[in-house]
Amino acid sequence: MSYLKGEKMHIFYSILLGIAGGLVGVSIFGLSGYMISLSFFEPPFFLIILIIAVIKMFGLTKGTAKYLERLLSHDATFKMIGRLRASYFKQSVNNDEETHSVRYIQKLTSYFDDIEDYYIRIVYPYIVAVFISLILTILSLLIDPKLLLIILTAVFILLVVMPLIISSRSKTLYDERTEAEDQLFTGLYHYIQDFTNLFTVKKDSEISANIKDTYKKVTGNEQKEALLDAIIDTVSLLIQLGVIVLVIVLFENDYPLLIPMIILLMMSFFELAVPVIKPASQYKAVKARIEAVSEDSSEAPKKVQDKLSLSGMNFRYPSTKRDVLTNVNIDIKTGEKHAVIGSSGSGKTTLLNQLIKQSDAGIMPQHLDFYNATVKENVTMFNHFKAEDSRIKTLLEQFELEHFSPDDYITSSEYLSLGEKKRMHLIRMYIEDKNTWILDEPTASLNVRLRDKIWAEIFKKETVITATHDLSHLESFDYVHYLEGGTITESGPVDQVLKNKGPVHEAYQRYNDAL
């Protein structure tokens, strides 16, 4: 259990305490059973009082043990989750996985719920149950080897056979659930995004009905889980009944006095062991998921070059069969200002992302990220960059964001409008203070006044690369590149290219021709 490294002692003690508590709990019942049998045979009164006192002492011990054990096990689990989160985050920063989708985040959440479960619900109760069973089995030898055989068989079925059998069913149900949720997610996403179109072609109710059908799979899955639970319970209860009947029939004549004790003991043992069965069956699946997170990946150092250039670049996303960029050549020297233009889907963002990979410039990506923290923490990346409150205030005013103060808490991504995000991110880039800026649509969703303001700020930078639809300031750039279907179809100094009557000229004409 290498992923529990820091908390080993906690876990060790909590298991010890769990076993102690469980044993004491089971023996309370056993003792009560023994007490009544004994009472009818006129024992010395103090013996009965002693037994009752012991039962109470045991009760107190059980309560205390359980209390300490819960403290230790929760402490260990929370610390473990904290550490795993940090390492997952570091790992995630290093890889290129796309993490913006709701489904990704939702999967990650359930992932960490699994981890929380892993120790508190799966591993730990099982270990405790196994130890208590072993101790009870050994103790049963004191009475009769036949009893040992009965207990051993019951324990074997409950803690080994059943988890193994259920294991594959559990996995099937889990996979089925994931599949249904994936399907539900995709269907819902498409439905929401495509609603206008579906409504106009009168297909909205059909799609909505399809999604409801998909949801029925989730319900069906819940139903199957409930059935599985019921089956586990039924089998366990049948075993319990079998044990009670066997104990009565086998020992009726040999140990009449001990039978009430054995029966109460067994019943309380079952109460402890049965809840462990289903979680134990999930052990393998959950363990595999956790180990996938805790694997450490080596850090890939960022390649930083002085000049930004791509030559003969082809690029495709791993999931697609087609190049998004084909034979792209672009060379940006210090001090130059480049604009990348072209229609939506022509590959502008992909092209910028390739440049971002090899530079340490200030970046405005297409998707702007904000975190649930204060405005100040957001624009300084949690104080990674130093900035006085007064400076942040000035910048907020400058970009017409004076309705925010540095201490305001950004609660969610919907807290800021798109235009506010653009400006807030620009403040972040200001504070970062790089000489080169790479920007993806810096002026989208802003009014003309703010656009002019922001273009003015952008052109103050030494080196600039911008992908944009907003051609209002095209003539202030040094170079322009026209991208169509992943290929640069025209490229050169702005004044020259505009004379060429090529695609850039046409786009510019059309931009200015708009009513």
């Binding site: 209390y67 929370f78 904290g82 989160r85 940090a86 995004q193 609603f195 106009t200 949801y215």
Partner: protein, 521 residues
């Protein structure tokens, strides 16, 4: 806390539970009889008693599992109903808060599910159990019953005195745990910015600090929560101990109790206390789950968009009478009267933000006017929007919408000069469009959107900036095609470019809440 379940179901649930608990009590009765006969050597038909005992235990299993399965089924159906309400609530506005909708259905509703599947059945089960056990005990041993009755109120009392306070704290803490979880998820989601700004070290440190602080605080709160559980355990032990003492005293000193009674009482008393404990802990879980439902309910209760406001006209394509259209309290069209012809191209222009797209959406049935009448020739309207969204599909399915054959699709692609570039693709018209990734240029995508609408030959075609991404040559081609099309259909188009105005039959300018005839058409 109000249980969100009908009286009828509460009755039915209670009946099943009562049956199962009575079976359990009957099982205990026979077990006690059997043990009495073994220990005290009393007369008993052993095999018959064993049979009874087993039969009652089996009935207990059956009724108990029946209860579990039945209540879960009802609960899951009720959850499904809520999911359906959510899905039905999706309309054109949902897109703006799609994440909220996705979270409500996939996260918050799931967090709420245990409230219906577990909390409600458990509450009913334990309530019935407590009542039946105490009733049974009054029959079996009135003293034990009295002890139970006397000690039982301590548990709820304890909850009232101590539990509620920690409960509030732990709800707060759970929210905070969510928040830290959110920061983590937020950082994962926004890792690109962390990477771009090279701030990984700082941010990781912050994440670790946050978690440390959280563990400290949580453990502090949990300590109280666990302490209260421990106290409950102690109260339980005290109760059971009192019962045991009472029994021992009566066996030894007063000698007025049978073995049967003694064992039976000791079997039932712990069940009673456990039920009370469960009631306490479930109460807490229920409260947490209900919190999640608030977020689901907020969405369910949002008024659903009215899409049935359009009247019918046979004279014109679209007619507005005294029509007022507003968006977020801003009046875009103020008591306007207008009509668009059945045949020909009607162009609408206006400043950005004047409400052109909103007017189109009103005609489409997607935006309810504030007042006045809006009549349309037909509700089968083709719409070429200014937005591009492709669900996972193929080019053929996208254009045909499943109701036209391949030759017809090819014809329309031909008409729009798209056939060549699509034939060039490896799989032609059966090329899949996955993840919005479509192997076509911007101008080709616009024409593909048109193909999808025009293949239906609708009587009314609405277009939002139809030629925005087209180059001059394609624009000419599309204009020629539209000129043919407008011979026997109404085309209503919001346009941004002067070019298109040349083929317009009517031109309206939307400004300052009025729709006025514009030049030159």
């Amino acid at each position: 806390m109000k249980l969100s379940i009908s009286k009828k179901h509460i009755m039915l649930y209670s009946l099943i539970v009562a049956a199962s608990i009575i079976c359990y009590i009957a099982f205990g009765h026979h077990l006690s009889l059997i043990l009495e006969s073994i220990v005290m050597d009393t007369d008993l038909n052993m095999s018959q008693s064993l049979l009874y005992m087993s039969a009652f235990f089996l009935s207990f299993i059956v009724t108990d599992k029946l209860y579990d399965l039945y209540t879960k089924r009802q609960a899951n159906q009720s959850i499904e109903q809520k999911a359906e309400w959510l899905i039905e609530g999706i309309d054109v506005k949902t897109r703006r808060e799609s994440e909220r909708m996705m979270n409500a259905l996939l996260v918050h509703l799931e967090d709420y599910r245990p409230y219906e599947t577990t909390f409600i059945p458990t509450i009913i089960k334990t309530s019935v159990k407590v009542v039946l056990i105490i009733a049974a005990l009054f029959f079996i041993d009135i003293y034990a019953g009295a002890i139970l009755l006397f000690t039982a109120p301590f548990i709820p009392l304890y909850y009232v005195l101590v539990g509620l306070q920690t409960q509030e704290e732990s709800v707060k803490q759970a929210t905070r745990f969510d928040n830290i979880g959110t920061l983590f998820l937020n950082l994962i989601r926004g890792k690109d910015t962390v990477k771009n700004t090279d701030s990984k070290q700082t941010v990781t440190k912050r994440l670790e600090e946050d978690n440390e602080g959280f563990v400290k605080e949580t453990m502090h709160i949990l300590k109280y929560a666990f302490q209260s559980t421990m106290m409950l355990e102690f109260i339980t032990i005290l109760g059971i101990g009192l019962v045991a003492l009472e029994i021992a005293l009566r066996i030894i000193i007063f000698e007025n109790i049978s073995f049967y009674t003694a064992f039976f009482v000791l079997l039932l008393a712990p069940e009673f206390y456990n039920a009370l404990k469960v009631l306490g802990t479930e109460f807490h879980n229920g409260k947490l789950a209900l919190g999640s439902y608030d977020r689901v309910q907020a969405l369910i209760q949002q008024p659903k968009m009215n899409t049935a406001y359009r009247g019918q006209t046979t004279e014109e394509a679209v007619r507005g009478h005294n029509l007022t259209i507003s968006h977020d309290d801003k009046i875009l069209l103020n008591e306007a009267d207008f009509s668009f012809k059945k045949i020909g191209l009607t162009a609408i222009t206006g400043e950005s933000g004047a409400g052109k797209t909103t007017l189109l959406r009103s005609i489409l049935g997607l935006h309810e006017p504030k007042s006045g009448q809006l009549e349309v020739l037909t509700t089968d309207i083709g719409y070429v929007s200014d937005q591009v969204y492709f669900s996972d599909t193929t080019i053929y399915e996208y254009v045909s919408a499943g109701s036209h054959d391949a030759s017809k699709v090819k014809q329309i692609l031909e008409d729009l000069n798209l056939a060549d570039s699509i034939d060039n693709l490896e799989k032609g018209i059966h090329t899949p469009i996955v993840n919005h990734d479509i192997p076509l240029s911007g101008g080709e995508i616009v024409r593909l959107k048109m193909a999808r609408v025009l293949i239906e030959r609708p009587a009314i075609i609405i277009m939002d900036e139809p030629t925005e991404f087209l180059d001059a040559k394609t624009e000419q081609l599309v204009m020629k095609y539209l000129s043919e099309l407008k011979q026997d259909a109404a085309i209503i188009a919001v346009i941004h470019r002067r070019q298109l105005l040349s083929i317009a039959d009517d031109h309206y300018v939307l400004s300052d809440g009025g729709l006025k005839r514009g030049e030159p058409a």
